[in-house]
């Protein structure tokens, strides 16, 4: 007879009982352990609201980056060593950029008031046209230099992800901090002051 037939386990109580020793609780326990692990990981994975972001460049020399200023002269970041440099990456039609602009103006004025110790602020254009950028500055004020770069080499060199971003580079040309999203004048001033004290 080739066909096999369902049979009642009761007919064979010994083997049935043996193979049927409680398995379910153990499997359930194993799955429970995995699930507890998963839940623990998920509880730990809270998103932080801080706008200070990581970058592989932090603590390392700033990348080679060159561009042109609005008047066509070349801008080479490596030649700005000796003073604190603040780079603000932006696009003219980005809403948070528009919102943070008054704070940048305030920050720039405060730094210029410090004279030679003050940080140099540069706005770096990300994927925008000179016309739009000029219109932006005409409308909203601000007279610090604006850096353009071909194929957006400049922002790409820094790994800029999202406009606006603001980076702080120390006088020896080492990247110190990266902010993602809006910054305030106070935030920039305070952090810069802290860095100055550390830097000695």
């Amino acid at each position: 007879m080739t066909d096999v037939i369902d049979h009642d386990p009761g007919a064979d109580p010994e083997t049935a009982a043996a193979s049927r020793r409680s398995v379910a609780p153990w499997i359930a326990l194993a799955i429970a352990v995995v699930m507890i692990g998963l839940v623990v990981v998920l509880i730990g994975a809270t998103s932080d609201g801080d706008n200070v972001a990581e970058s592989p460049l932090i603590g390392r020399p700033a990348p080679e980056a060159t561009g042109q200023l609005a008047d066509g002269t070349a801008f080479d970041l490596s030649r700005r060593k000796g003073s604190w440099v603040v780079l603000n990456f932006f696009t003219a039609d980005c809403v948070p950029c528009i919102r943070e602009h008054p704070d940048l103006i305030e920050f720039n004025e405060q730094q210029q008031a410090l004279g030679a110790d003050g940080a140099e602020l540069y706005s770096v254009v990300v994927n925008d046209t000179p016309e739009d950028v000029e219109a932006f500055f005409d409308e909203r004020g601000g007279d610090w230099p604006v850096v353009y770069s071909e194929f957006d080499n400049f922002p790409v060199a820094f790994g800029v992800a999202q406009v606006p971003e603001t980076w702080i580079i120390d006088p020896s040309g080492v990247v110190q901090l990266r902010f993602i999203s809006e910054v305030t004048a106070e935030q920039l001033n305070v952090t810069l002051q802290q860095f100055r004290e550390q830097y000695g």
Binding site: M1, D8, N127, V156, F158, A161, Q162
Partner: protein, 169 residues
């Protein structure tokens, strides 16, 4: 009758051999004529699909429309146009700028290798589990070939129950 016997003859070993031949020939032709990306754009696409947009978590630079991705795409286009670097080198270059979190394909080394190993482990466990189950079932089934009288009585009782409950309904 005639068609039936023809059908049967076709299904003999000749028919299957012909099938294997046809499949093998078609696959060989198809795989042999495989070519890589054709236009520079397709190369850019292929590379940008491997790079994650740094802000949109999970979206590739290829899909994403935000300015960071456009900037990276421009950079990739630049490098492809120069034609000095291979695809892997371009991806590596982007990685040095943005960090490992822009790699959409996890590395097959270190902790990240788990993401490749665990699926294989899961598959092996699943197949092994099935094999064990089938073995157990065979052992179980081997003991009994015919239904016993007890079995028949049980079936009868179950059917009676069911009819009984139907009647009372």
């Amino acid at each position: 009758m005639n068609t039936k016997s023809l059908n049967r003859r076709l299904k003999g070993w000749m028919g299957w051999l012909a099938l294997i031949f046809v499949v093998a020939a078609a696959l060989t032709i198809g795989i042999a004529s495989t070519t890589g990306p054709q236009t520079p754009e397709e190369r850019i696409d292929a590379i940008s699909k491997r790079v994650a947009c740094p802000v949109c978590d999970g979206e590739s630079v290829f899909e994403s429309q935000n300015s960071a991705s456009i900037a990276i795409r421009n950079q990739v286009g630049d490098l492809v146009a120069e034609n000095d670097l291979g695809d892997d080198q371009i991806v590596a270059f982007i990685e040095t700028r943005y960090g490992a979190q822009v790699l959409l394909v996890p590395r097959a080394s270190g902790f990240d290798a788990l993401v490749w190993v665990l699926p294989a482990v899961a598959l092996v466990c699943g197949v092994a589990g099935l094999a064990v189950a089938f073995r157990r079932w065979r052992v179980q089934a081997d003991g009994t070939l015919d239904p016993t009288d007890d079995d028949r009585a049980l079936v009868e009782a179950a059917l009676r129950d069911q009819r009984g409950s139907a009647d009372t309904k």
